[in-house]
Subunit: 167 residues, 2 copies
């Protein structure tokens, strides 16, 4: 294997002279996937700190909000909406049920499926968490104006759900 002299001359020849600390100037800076991942990690870090006291993880929060909006939703539909695999839903709902936040109700018409509902406790918590999550979003994006934040949101929706993005 031969070391490339060409690339070696781009910035430095001896190892570790410049102590680079960012991807500024690299091709990576223009990659959407990279930027999305880094931004997501940043926002999630804030979110997790905010939710730490409640021991709620991102997927659990999403589930609570969807169940709140569609009480009685089946696990299959919840999986479809959140785009996660059915097996993940099982342990997710188990956990919420163990904590007394949600419960399964066997559906009379189709005894294979369960409707999922929030308990009073789950509903109260969800209300609290939604407010917390909004604050967390704002804290994580201090460098953005409210307008930019809305712009960003609308661009992201266009990517992951181009059909439902408002036209």
């Amino acid at each position: 294997m031969t070391i490339s002299k060409k690339s070696a001359s781009v910035h430095q020849v001896e190892p570790d002279d410049k102590e680079p600390t960012s991807v500024a100037g690299l091709a990576l800076e223009n990659r959407l996937g990279y930027a999305l991942r880094r931004a997501q990690l940043t926002v999630f870090k804030h979110f997790n700190e905010a939710m730490q006291a409640y021991e709620i993880r991102p997927a659990q929060f999403s589930s609570l909000v969807v169940i709140e909006g569609y009480p009685g939703i089946t696990q299959t539909n919840l999986a479809k909406i959140l785009d996660i695999d059915p097996p993940r839903i099982v342990s997710l709902i188990n956990h919420l049920e163990e904590r007394g936040l949600a419960l399964r109700v066997r559906c009379k018409r189709d005894k294979r499926s369960h409707g999922i509902f929030l308990s009073k406790k789950g509903e109260a918590l969800t209300e609290q968490l939604k407010a917390l999550a909004e604050q967390s979003d704002i804290q994580a994006t201090q460098s953005l104006s409210e307008i930019e934040r809305r712009q960003l949101l609308s661009l992201l929706v266009k990517i992951y759900a181009p059909d439902t993005a408002d036209e």
Copy 2:
């Protein structure tokens, strides 16, 4: 545990009547963290498909690009730039080294550290992959105009690297 009648009346009382398929209208639709994650998954899916033939994962691609830009960079600095933990870097570089794409060179001044360089083969591949990644970005964001794509990128950089975002 009591089922909340209030939330149960928001959309439906019986399980699974409406077969909801999106988060439209829910609080989730306005959560940046959720939107970022979903958008990231969408873009990564395209990326992984594009890279499948080369068996390159996102973190490997990022590493290749950074090493190309900073030949001789130490593993510690690579870890800092990409914000991943040092132990992850080890297996990452091991893999690149096994495939003959990169190599460690023991630094003479500090024999603890290694400078990492691309091989000719690694450099050639990186050039190819950068072009592929750009195409993949565009494919994954068909619903965005070129201007929107640039807007998005700039907003994301402001979030994960507010210091380096152009002022």
